[in-house]
């Protein structure tokens, strides 16, 4: 059978860098083809070429046996290629129908929008593919998983039959992810073809029909879930053997380092986001906070780190009360914070790597003497950090913004871990990172814990929480719904708690 999409010898160069090197890829009709690779391996570049955002320097794109040139996303849609982005492109105050209609001129009768027809078609598409989306609700009122389905409808509405999913499970609960996989299968059963970009090995093995792995801008090979295993895929991605499981020593738990009592924190919209939480983190242990994003974890971490003064309750760090302390006071007491959004909070992207490495110690000797910053000392220490944490950068003077995501994260970890600390607050420390970087950062976190640092780990990635935590607290709608020892918890159990379902209410959870 003729493949529905074929990429032949795609090469893309950026000034000074090769981003794609002679990549071949075929997508058959009705298959889910997973594209696996580390960050910076060239997945995104390849998909952007397919989506018309970049033009390849060499190679050709063949859609249904016909060579095509795709100059912009409009051309891509015309060829039936659509992309579900990692970050949704939806307008919250519009209804589903209105969001789907955006930019679709055919829906206008004269100057008026023909909502009724559109709404009917959406209902039809929704039924056909079991998407269960109500066309008349506002996007801001529906769950993230449903919003993603709206994105899918947008593509189906435009008659796309080659769908690209870019890291689609990053924002979903395990249950929502399973729902998505069902939808993906129902799409392929009805003749759609899917390219599934991810770095999660488990998903690939569960869902994909074929798996292609990119490493360092080249196609390493294509395999199938039957022939592959997690460790084999990881090896293909990284180019060496990778420890997938985390080896942990038993924790040597000491005294309480962080003590949070009945904390109430408001979010930006002045709604209660953290609703009376009490937690205790001890020296030498990792407390993992699991939960779907947006359940108050961000606000909890911000109030502990001094970025968001709490409404009620107290926070103690060893003997000191830090409820109203400033970020600098808390840092100086010996707390480190790996922020959730590295580009928003953790780095000043236009500044050099060296400056970013001293972002919270720049005013202290040896980096500043009197009021004068000591460029030499800063660069010298940067070179040490760069080596120790294996930050891949052309020089300490390179702007942090031009590093890859993994290296940006290593930069933050290098900065936060190389001070003497007693408390580590790590918020999504491996968000969007590849297997190699995750292994590295997990190792460093465990190292700190073994040194006796109290670690508060917040992550929506269940695998991460389960691999690292000595205790797991599940957060749902601003409350800790349950706390359990790390070793005993099961994925299903936590997943249900994350979704707000009490175990005794649902006697027999469906699988």
């Amino acid at each position: 059978m003729e493949p529905v999409l074929e990429l032949r010898g795609i090469t893309k160069r950026f000034p000074g860098v090769l981003a794609n090197d002679q990549i071949d890829l075929t997508l058959n009709e009705g298959e889910i083809h997973a594209l696996l690779g580390e960050n910076g391996a060239g997945k995104t570049t390849l998909m952007n070429i397919l989506y018309g955002l970049y033009q390849p320097d060499e190679g050709e794109v063949i859609v249904r046996g016909k060579k095509v040139e795709i100059h912009d996303p409009g051309d891509a849609i015309a060829e039936g290629i659509g992309m579900v982005h990692q970050h949704f492109m939806l307008i919250p105050v519009f209804t589903v129908t209105e969001n789907v209609m955006l930019g679709e001129e055919s829906l206008h009768t004269g100057n008026f929008l023909d909502r009724a027809t559109a709404s009917q078609r959406i209902t039809k598409i929704s039924q056909q593919f079991h998407l269960e989306v109500d066309p008349d609700v506002y996007v801001q009122d529906i769950a993230v998983g449903v919003q993603q389905r709206v994105e899918i409808i947008k593509l189906l509405y435009r008659n796309a039959d080659i769908l690209i999913f870019d890291e689609p499970t990053a924002v979903l609960t395990p249950q929502e992810a399973d729902e998505l996989f069902k939808i993906m299968h129902s799409l392929t059963e009805q003749g759609k073809s899917i390219i599934f970009i991810t770095h999660k090995l488990r998903e690939v093995l569960d869902v994909a029909d074929r798996i292609s792995v990119l490493r360092r801008w080249k196609m390493v090979g294509t395999t199938t879930p039957k022939k592959a295993s997690k460790s084999k895929l990881a090896e293909m991605m990284v180019g060496r053997e990778v420890k997938l499981g985390v080896e942990k020593n038993p924790p040597k738990v000491g005294d309480a380092v962080l003590n949070v009592n009945d904390l109430v924190v408001l979010n930006d919209r002045k709604q209660v986001a953290v609703d009376g939480i009490s937690i205790e983190v001890h020296a030498g242990e990792i407390l993992g906070i699991a939960g779907v994003q947006g359940n108050g974890q961000t606000e909890l971490v911000e109030s502990i780190t001094g970025l968001r003064p709490p409404q009620e309750g107290t926070i103690h760090f060893l003997e000191d009360e830090i409820t109203q302390a400033t970020p600098r006071e808390i840092t100086e007491l010996g707390a480190a914070h790996v922020p959730e959004d590295r580009q928003r909070d953790g780095l000043i992207l236009p500044f050099p790597v060296a400056d970013n490495l001293v972002l919270n110690t720049y005013y202290l000797p040896p980096f500043t003497q009197g009021v004068i910053m000591q460029q030499e000392a800063i660069v010298e220490s940067a070179v040490e950090r760069i080596n120790e944490f294996d930050i891949r950068t052309p020089s300490p003077q390179t702007p942090a913004g031009s590093l890859s995501g993994g290296n940006q994260q290593k930069l933050i970890v290098a900065r936060e871990f190389s001070r003497p600390i007693k408390l580590l607050i790590a918020s999504q420390p491996t968000r969007g990172l590849d297997v190699g970087s995750i292994e590295f950062i997990h190792g460093r976190i465990l190292e700190k814990r073994d040194e006796g640092v109290a670690v508060l780990l917040v992550s929506p990635e269940l695998d991460e929480i389960m691999a690292l935590s000595d205790r797991i607290a599940v957060m749902y709608r601003g409350k800790i719904v349950d706390t359990m020892p790390g070793g005993k918890a099961t994925k299903e159990q936590i997943g249900l708690l994350m979704a707000g379902i009490e175990q005794d209410q649902e006697a027999a959870p469906k699988k």
Binding site: T326, D345, I348, P350, Y362, Q375, I386, P394, Q397, P399
Partner: protein
Amino acid sequence: MSEKQEPKKKGASEILLEEINGKSSGGSSSRRKLGQTLAIPVLAIFSGLVLGAIIIAVTSEGVYTAWAQSPLAAFGAAWEEVRIAYTALFTGSIGDPARIIAALQSGDSLEIRRAFNPFLESLVASTPYIFGSLAVALGFRAGLFNIGVEGQLFIGAIFAAFVGYSITGLPAIIHIPLAILAGALGGAIWGFIPGWLKVKTGGHEVINTIMLNFIAFRISDWLLSGPMRRPDSFNPVSPTIQESAMLPRFFESPIRFHLGFFLALVAAWLVYWLLFRTKWGFDLRSVGANPNAARYAGMSILGTTVLAMSLSGALAGLAGTNEVLGLNHNLAMAFSSGYGFDSIALALLGKSHPLGVVLAALLFGTLRNGATRMMVVAQVPIDIITVLQALILVFIAAPAIIRTIYRLREPEAEEEGVTIRGWGGD
């Protein structure tokens, strides 16, 4: 970044890193980067001059008269018109090369000074621009859009003038610094207010500085029509400042070149030093580049904002002070012809870097100074310079135009430069 000092010796590891990445950070790449940085402004100025020439030709009656004879004659007339205008612009702002050479050969010192006077006048005209655009640039670096330079300039001038004429019997070595400090203080107060309002109430500095401009203009008008008016005059002019407060001039009249120009250069150096060498500058640039990360890193957004607005105001105040102490020797109603507003454009042109800002200010001072002669000799209205300046700025502000015309490559990475956050800000 060119302004960062390179480490004295490269560590072995660094060399290794460079090899791993197959790239060297030094030498040719930084030279190429400098070229990229300069290409846009230089080409923008060139394009502005070309378009200006077209406008001169199109608005000239002589060209239309010639058109009646033949298109070729019209072309010749246009060429002649533009040649005369731009020659006058050059001799009016830099000097007449023939005259300079003749003067140097004659050895007559008076003649030499006169020959160089257009150039020195350009420096005099550039000086308030330097102060003003440093003020705007400092604000930009901290993520603040100070549109209030004009108002701060007036308040600074009022303070400087008052100290200049009201205090008597001081030696110049004390009186001059005192008057300068007063001028800086006046501007600083007028910059502090919107900074403080932003921090305390969230009031946007763009709105508040514009409003404070109006208040400053009216305060100045009121003072000059009453409390500060020269007793023996019906004009709205303050008393002449004491001779001990006047900035020294380097040559005899009519050459007005005075100390202010060098003070402006010192100010530029100080701003550079503050921004790129001190921890305060690091705070300021961090808050400007990413306030979230600055807060995360424990910097005080509030303190930095107020400090940056006050310093920016102080520099603006110095622009007014310079005119009072160095040039006019009194405070007159509406003495500033929009220096504060032009400075916004200059800070953009100079990419908010003190060196760039000084070069931009010199360019505009020179154009403005030469425009007078162009009007006299070539009968080209002085407004054409305003159009020329506007064109240059449009090209700077929309570099994509220049890149398209001259087929330049996109810059590889977002460079550190001007940062103005949008209205919805932070």
